[in-house]
Symmetry: D2
Subunit: 344 residues, 4 copies
């Protein structure tokens, strides 16, 4: 059996493991106050073409979302997000556990538009009894989204604009950021993210690291005392250098980008086959997650050799499923999968 | 100007004020441990035809909902509610502030059906990664709803059934309970509520009291240590007897029911006129809240003499509005309003 | 039996009840947006000799403390308080329920000193791993304290100073403020409170009202969106005018001060007798709460006619107890109590 | 410079790194549902001589304490702990952030006694207004404590007893458990912990792992839905097998015990020298943390070659400091330190 079920089935890129071994018996300060974290921070600043930012390393995505959002909001504020957003669906209410409502906006493909945010905010601020409702305090988006879709630079700039207008922060969840940045249709850079968002994170867990997310904060107010927030949310890794070593490696010789491109290329090969085979696509993704609609009989056949995720029933005889490639996906296995699909 | 904007524009029923004055200089224990609260509790138990219940008195609705829901749920559980439910829209995230997500279900008229709950729960419990999502822990309904609509006894029993099946509590918000119980189409009694819900409350603030909500708990587990919850949520009134006196008065000589019936009758007079006048009804309410759809020109005209609530735009030239009657509404003012409507 | 157990055993001052009756059938806006609240606000501003402040009316003390503290603190900050402070002992963890630690300072008499706060803050900010500890974010004091003791204007100014130095807010709980302001040893005025604190509240529940606390905010940042905080914490009374009417009455013709002075005078009569009788005093209070140390045999005797509170065992044969007078205490009953004490 | 400042300055035991490398490119399920976690769970159950327990793997200590405590307590309950306990001092209010008060007990050496707990609980439950105070819901202890001290089996059994009496859970924080279990004065086994506590954890971060804490739950009620709690608290590691691999390695061939014994032996060598040198000991520790009291001049001298932690000023000329050994401490460096101490 070969797993295409998600992008975190293996360990870490061998270059990371190598550095881990090499540095294993060194002694360093804990909690992110070590030379490896410093080096990784500097590399990220350089890539973002911005020195006036704070970079923190946390262990996982839910922890990161919770820490950032609870740091950004006043108690009566909520986070605007797509109804399908990770924080609204798949974090067991972690945001609410910090006291904040997720304010869902409808979304067909995982994205939300500046116009939707504008409408929600306008309604809130013109309502006579606004203090009876949760105040929109930030906008949460993912790039790529849960559905593999991407924002354009224009859409991002528009969201930035509406956030400024209503005094809200813009937060971009980049759990799969590499796969987004390297997609053939993507026109957003790290420097754009630093410019248009108040805070975003560069995902490591799903892009080559054992674990780890790099939080980049450009908003001045949010920078203040952020390490207290990390500690309180259980995200301050004692041996923090493990995060520094990983991100330092990922941002050496463009490793992060190369391995992301690898995954996207294999995903595009799959997408091409799905289309050739006549399968519909639940979402039009140019990133490492693909959502073809297959006859249930084909699904049953492929399940004998491959693990992939059921997404949703589309008709009596067809279902959407998810195939993920990753930095670790072997080209020859994708070729085999392609052959098996063609034979369905 | 006469106000039909809500059902809490006046003070309290004169009989309550009278008892307040009479007892004013008596000395009693605080915090609900006084003879007036005891007497009111007993009357409520008798009306519910159930002695094995706990009755607590709180000051307001948001406080009551927050206290009950946070007492009932485990940290990772949420409260299933209509998307238009008071806890989901008009409590400034008070439920989320206690750490719990509101799990919204679509609703056209403020009600939710057992089948919808069944579907949500079934989906949760059959999902392979259920621990990544908020667990449905209770169902929250209102009777009447925010839209003035009513559950039938059958619908209530069905919700009870699905809650039992999935180990959830059923909580009924009765902020306007009197107006529901006395509606001509209502077939639910206090005894039914005690039988089919785990906890409900009898609203006082909107039904004749200065303030106050009587929480009735039949669920054994929820009874335990509930006074700690009240205190922690800021709901333990020092001079608790003020609540006891009010509810004791409301449940003497059927006052609660008589004044509720008064409001419903006036609302039905209005409804009849709306229909005669050819206005549509946004919701088909038999309770004290009426939601007619008026030409905007009529609205402008009526606003010169009456205060009522804009509800939503329905077309370019028409809007739904809300008229509330209450225990305090004067029949002659309703007659005048009727004349003014007919002249529009 | 006559109750000296606390200062909230009766209803409200008759002048308040009179206004309640007179205004009962008037129609007003809810939620504190009515003319009575406006009038009361203005009177409080005038008494504080400060127009640049916000005044909000809440129902009870725990609710008020919770709302103010959670509005003032960032998630990782705590409230510095005397170990015996109300928020640390008698609010069932309501502050912690909003996510904040109470940082206790030792206290013999309920007061804390600027030097203690300075020491705690200095230690925090010079510790190398400060982000591993809760950051002191505000100072909470009561005037009078739980032990009936009073701050001097100098002590208050010093606390103000240390709060400024470390960027902390100063919050004064005035649940029994009237009894403090009218004490013969008091040198603090409402204007001083407006000057030296960022926020304080004027207690109504224990000083003549049925219920109600008036929160006075001078700190600009804290003013912002405070009504959202009130609503979220369940403190926005639907019929908010009830609070306005009460405080407007209390601040008409100096009623608040006169009835407070009444209670203090009776307390001083009791104190004089305790000393004449040779009883020790657990705390040296000049306010309405008195803490004499009585032989247990005397306590038993007095308990036959009076209700008062056991405070703590002092020796094998003696205990400290608490006697409270209030705006409602009858002089003739105090005289009777004095006679009974002398006969012990 | 050589670091004795804490026990997490290096990476992981080489055997762990070896297994990480060997398994790196395997594909497994995430979130702890993999064969390595299963294997580690079984080994822990066998060592605890108990099969009826749940074992979960989390990343770090603060996260673990927060998850366990918030899972165990009702909203109005608090965790009883030594005033110096990690949750009370060094977790930035993480427990309070979940809504729960830490109820501190005085402690000279980091331990608390059953009699203290008994006294606190008795006072709570016999107080007439108990619902105004936080209810003691669990007891939190550490073994070894923050001060390197150890509980005896008798003391543990007594704590177990008082917890049973008052319906509280007993939770043991084992961040440094190995160093405790292998101390020459220790008489507690893993089987004892399974028997006398409701939940405890076996620390990996400080005892040979890169990171990781193994939570062992024997209490039936606490087992229910614990994975939801882990996820909500951000502790569900995507590549959960990393935790399984580490603990499986630590519990193969007694590695966990051997490396703990190694650290304790070196600490005992240091302790012997401290005593020979005439230094006082701030705490009488038989574990890997040693707290000698040194003349400040000696401290200055040793700081030129070694990093260790300032603990507290003891007199004008002396201070207590902390030296930690660990699984990674080199015997030859300890020998060198000993020579340097003797030469002071």
């Amino acid at each position: 059996m070969y797993r295409f079920q998600c992008d975190y089935t293996e360990g870490a890129h061998p270059a990371i493991m190598q550095r881990m071994i090499e540095t294993n018996m060194e002694q360093t300060n804990g909690y992110g106050l070590d030379p490896y974290c410093d080096s990784a921070r500097q590399k990220i600043k350089d890539l973002c073409e911005c020195q006036d930012m704070d970079v923190h390393f946390l262990v996982g995505g839910t922890q990161t979302n919770t820490t950032v959002i609870s740091a950004a909001l006043r108690p009566y504020q909520g986070a605007v997000a797509a109804v399908s957003g990770h924080i609204n669906v798949h974090e067991t209410g972690a945001i609410e556990a910090t006291g904040h409502k997720v304010l869902p906006l409808p979304s067909e493909d995982g994205k939300i538009a500046a116009a939707q945010v504008e409408e929600m905010c306008h309604a809130h601020w013109t309502d006579g009894s606004q203090e009876h409702m949760v105040q929109p305090g930030m906008v949460y988006i993912s790039h790529p989204t849960e559905n593999g879709t991407l924002y354009t630079k224009k859409e991002l700039a528009d969201l930035h604009e509406v956030c400024r207008k209503y005094g809200m922060l813009l937060f971009l969840d980049g759990a799969r950021l590499g796969y987004g940045l390297m997609a053939e249709t993507n026109d957003i850079t790290l420097a754009d993210l630093a410019k248009y968002t108040d805070v975003f994170y560069i995902g490591g867990t799903k892009v080559g690291a054992l674990f780890g997310e790099a939080v980049v904060i450009t908003n001045r107010a949010l920078k203040k005392d952020f390490r207290y927030m990390i500690k309180q949310n259980g995200g301050m890794l004692a041996k923090g250098r493990l995060l520094g070593i990983q991100f330092d490696t990922l941002f050496t010789d463009d490793l992060y980008f190369k391995i992301s491109a690898h995954a996207d290329e294999l995903a595009m090969k799959l997408k091409k086959i799905f289309l050739e085979k006549g399968y519909g696509l639940r979402y039009d993704s140019y990133t490492n997650q693909q959502f073809p609609i297959l006859p249930d009989s084909h699904i049953e056949k492929l399940k004998e050799k491959y693990v992939f995720e059921f997404w949703e029933k589309v008709s009596d005889t067809e279902s959407a499923v998810r195939f993920c490639t990753s930095w670790a996906t072997k080209p020859e296995v994708v070729d085999e999968l392609i052959r098996d699909i063609m034979e369905c």
